[in-house]
Symmetry: C2
Subunit: 337 residues, 2 copies
């Protein structure tokens, strides 16, 4: 009888492919160990072939490191899970549309397998971040979970009964493009009043710039040496932390919009956990306190009582952890343990 | 070896308990036959005991009819599925809160079993209507389905992978209380800008009344003999059918609000089917054509291309059919065939 390999001696490589950076790390099958991650610029402008070659090289480095640190054979590495920024077809391992990479119908899974000889699964990056936070982060223990990832845009993931819910064509979870104000701000997608038009990092910076046009007391301009084009959401959170009135108002308004969107999600999905990840969590309780108030105001009481709203706990690594979790779910048909 | 009873010789009683009427009907286990339904006023003001006694009596009449028509033994009736207007706890068969009945924590399942000797399952009425339309109505063949039921209020149901999705505390699918206009119309729930505040039957009548204050050419007042308190959504649909400009504008605006809410559902759930049931379907293409346009405008193209939006096909019986389907799902663990 063959002795089964223990799950902490089998490894999966997670790849978080972003518009700006690629992050790669190895994990044990049981999630007990996450190896140090490597990061490199995506340089999408060099073209898909160059990006894939870079990813494959980072994977090889990562595999070599696992072997060196653990003495494992190469076949102890079971495969690669990739989270990609766009819509995907999981079954075919294809990235359908990824605006930040300017990819269209790109066979990412097949190309990575050619270069590495390893099985590859592909999933959406926000789905992966949500699944990572569920597996090992802030949403641990949840059964029905909504993830909201706030960066340049607003993305999302939906976990139902401990499985990522992908919808009919792998496109579910576009939380950023929920209309919360029918006739409101124009969104990058062309529509009006999407959550992303208010709560994304760039919307927060944009709203701060607008507010500064009518205010001379704020410390925000000084924080960017007077160059408002350098104003980012992170700067707004920092100023809010120092009590700046304009920044605090922007954060409170963000909480109101986000809270409305999250209340909608609660009334639809009745989840046990909402996990909010991304730079916005830097705003801390200045954001989360009014956010929870707005959710309680707009969601049904029994529904909001049944749901915790928590910040993500895996900044920088939720995507790779979730890409590994998605690999496990796609190849075994079961959620990771 | 016992010969198994064929599924068309086993029966389940479906009960659609509404705030105004109770509808009861029997079905075969395989859905191949729906017996004629009986209907009686709920008379909620008489109290829960009287309502339950009436329901039980209607069930007995129905069982007797099944036996008379088919010659089946009483034990060929497997049980009763009830759809109730409010939040429920399915596991305990309890109606938690039903504002229209003024019930709170009422053990409906246990009480019905006491009176009939039959197993009883309880589910939410809008969930049942959605499940009925999926099993035998307009959403047949769907895998991931959203049901929107528009009557006095706006309710909803969510089917994921051919199963009703109930969420963490059986409260999922409150589509009517999705905010689509943050600072918009006041809703009966106390909040602002809920879909129900625009698209429910009473909201449609209310908006028509407001529009008439600035219009003298409409035929609407004549249709209610000048008594605008008698104006209902059905009257608005009739006038729209006759080309009345005010009524047509109300229907188009309704399509815009409903379309925004449904686009949100598409971007979240990526369903293959949305089924819209209730009186609003009487408006026909005057509603559905601009509704589909608004959805296409606001939902991602790949998502809206993958989804059909259809009217319900079981007016009056979707609730009982779905209550039977929910009984089958709850007692067997599998969706009905």
């Amino acid at each position: 009888m063959a002795i089964p390999t223990p799950p902490d001696s089998q490894f999966i490589i997670g790849v978080d492919l972003g518009g700006t950076n690629i992050v790669v790390s190895a994990m044990t099958l049981d999630g007990s160990r996450l190896f140090a991650e490597a990061s490199a610029p995506t340089l999408a402008a060099e073209g898909a072939d160059a990006v894939v070659a870079r990813m494959a090289q980072m994977v090889e480095t990562c595999v070599a490191e696992v072997q060196r640190e653990t003495g494992a054979a190469r076949d102890a590495v079971l495969g690669i899970g990739v989270g990609a920024p766009g819509t995907v077809n999981r079954e075919r391992g294809v990235v359908l549309v990824a605006p930040n990479l300017q990819w269209r119908d790109f066979p990412l899974g097949a190309r990575m397998t050619e270069l590495t000889g390893l099985p590859v699964t592909v999933d959406n990056d926000a789905n992966c971040a949500t699944y990572g936070e569920w597996w090992l982060g802030g949403a641990r223990g949840g059964r029905n979970v909504i993830g909201v990832t706030i960066g340049t845009g607003v993305g999302g993931g939906i976990i139902i009964d401990r499985r990522l819910y992908h919808g009919s064509t792998d496109a579910a979870g576009e939380i950023g493009h929920m209309t919360v104000d029918l006739t409101g701000r124009r969104c990058g997608c062309g529509n009006y009043g999407c959550l992303e038009a208010y709560a994304s990092g760039s919307a927060i910076a944009g709203r701060a710039r607008e507010a500064l046009a009518h205010d001379e007391s704020s410390i925000l301009p000084a924080l960017v040496d007077g160059d408002l084009s350098q104003l980012t959401a992170a700067v707004v959170y920092r100023a809010a932390g120092e009590g700046d009135a304009v920044a605090l108002e922007i954060v409170r308004d963000t909480a109101k919009f986000l809270g409305t969107g999250i209340a909608n999600l609660l009334n639809m999905f009745n989840p046990d956990t909402v996990v909010i990840a991304g730079g916005v969590t830097q705003a801390g309780e200045a954001l989360f306190a009014p956010l929870r108030t707005e959710v309680r105001r707009r969601a049904f009481k029994s529904v909001s009582d049944a749901c915790r709203i928590v910040p993500g706990e895996l900044p920088g690594t939720a995507g790779v952890v979730g890409a590994v979790a998605s690999f496990i779910a796609q190849t075994t048909g079961h959620p990771p343990a």
